[in-house]
Amino acid sequence: MDPRALRRDFPVFEAHPDLVFLDSAASAQKPRSVIEALARFYQTAYANVHRGSYPLSEAATEAFEAARATLAGFLGTPDPDEVVFVRNATEGMNLLAHALGERYLGEGDTVLVTEMEHHANLVPWQQAARRKGARIRAVPITDQGRLDLAALDRLLGEEPRIFAFTQMSNVLGTVNPVAELAERAHRAGAIVVVDGAQGAPHLPVNVRALGADFYVTSGHKMLGPTGASALWGRRELWQELPPFLTGGGMIERVTIEESTFAPPPTRFEAGTPAFAEAVGLAAAAEYLIGVGMDRVWRHDRELTRRALAALSEVPDLRVFGPQGEDRGGVVSFAFPGVHAHDLATFLGQKGVAVRSGHHCAQPLHRRLGVAATTRASFYLYNTEEEVDRLAAVLHEARRFFASWIE
């Protein structure tokens, strides 16, 4: 894969030729094909989906349902109706926490998460647990930044109703062994919810092979527009679940006092969906399929290896996360005594776009013993030169902040 060639598909790099964009884990840039699919849809094919019996609305409906099928294919399921469109991974997780909570959680039950979760895969479970009198337990991580599998087995012994964990950590880069975790969890009787926000953009995903029950994605992190993400679940489980958002489009019969609801996926898409953005997201999935997810994944890991090697040469720099093959293109680091924001501002002023803070993972940062880290993340349009530039600017930062370092 030649990232230099792919780069030309991304207009933002024409507008900012010197930009070293290492913040794709927060949100990815968009290829021309996605922006054009979106614009073309609004220019030539726009009308509200469903319920319109004129050709423009029929065509828009078809485009929306074709987008659902494309996303289903991208995630490895033949059944488009297993895909529900939500705004972002966070809304997906809220939908699941609400619906699974209503259906399966009771007094004294346990929801199992992990210490490396993004707040999106933690706070919604806290809310559901509080409503239902259940409690949250978390699988700890090892000093290498991997899940502690011995502790997992102990915790599964408590028979959690739900085990929700991330496919890939947005701070450590750790890729969890999803299939193995799902199998253990299923044996313990838990429903398996996988946070694929960082997984789906970077790894070949087949939800059935992973053995997940639900798989959450974040569209804007996988080259899609903001506003649309695919949430996958097993048909049999969707059928069991009560709705989350209610209103138009998802009902069967409504009186002033009460309502009955449509079957999935309609039941979970209340009101006018972000259907134009769903069409844009399908263009993104097609772009990724065209490049090949195996090649994306290989490229990410090559850059990561190079970055880990180069960053290990920067004096005083602490680099987080595992060293090994089970690691994606996210590298977080810190100079002791230099706050993450100050370091990120330095990098940003040198044209290297990174992110700093707790990256929506406060419990993990507490475990790492730091309040904040600075994070670089890679994607298919990043080059080896950019990784080298990151390392060079970190050497510069080391000199600039020399007297701060503790």
Partner: protein, 138 residues
Amino acid sequence: MGILEDLYQEIILTRYKNPRRRGRLENPTRTAGGHNPACGDQLELFVELDGDRIRAVRYQGEGCAVSQASADLMAEAVEGKTVAEARDLAERFKAMVVEGAPPDPALGDLAALSGVARLPSRVKCATLAWHALEEALS
């Protein structure tokens, strides 16, 4: 023939206004509900089985000419058929209205609904009763 003339043939109107199988069965062997969330059409289906054979079919509900005529023609067409034969007919009907296949001779009067294939938003109206039938027979 224009799409409109093609769709709204005399037989559709006749069945909409003067249905032959509309109503309910007192002691149905099977019942099923159909609902088109996109437009609110609703249908209740009553099936009386004699072993493996469909003895009678009736339906109730609310819907457009397409959905009502489709239900009425379907009810008539499957009476006397075995469950397997009825399922087979459902496949042929869906091939015609969903995929736009030319009407299978076995469909008889149901061929009048072939124009629906050219109107994607009306496909669900035409298939509503058939989905309910498949559910009732499953």
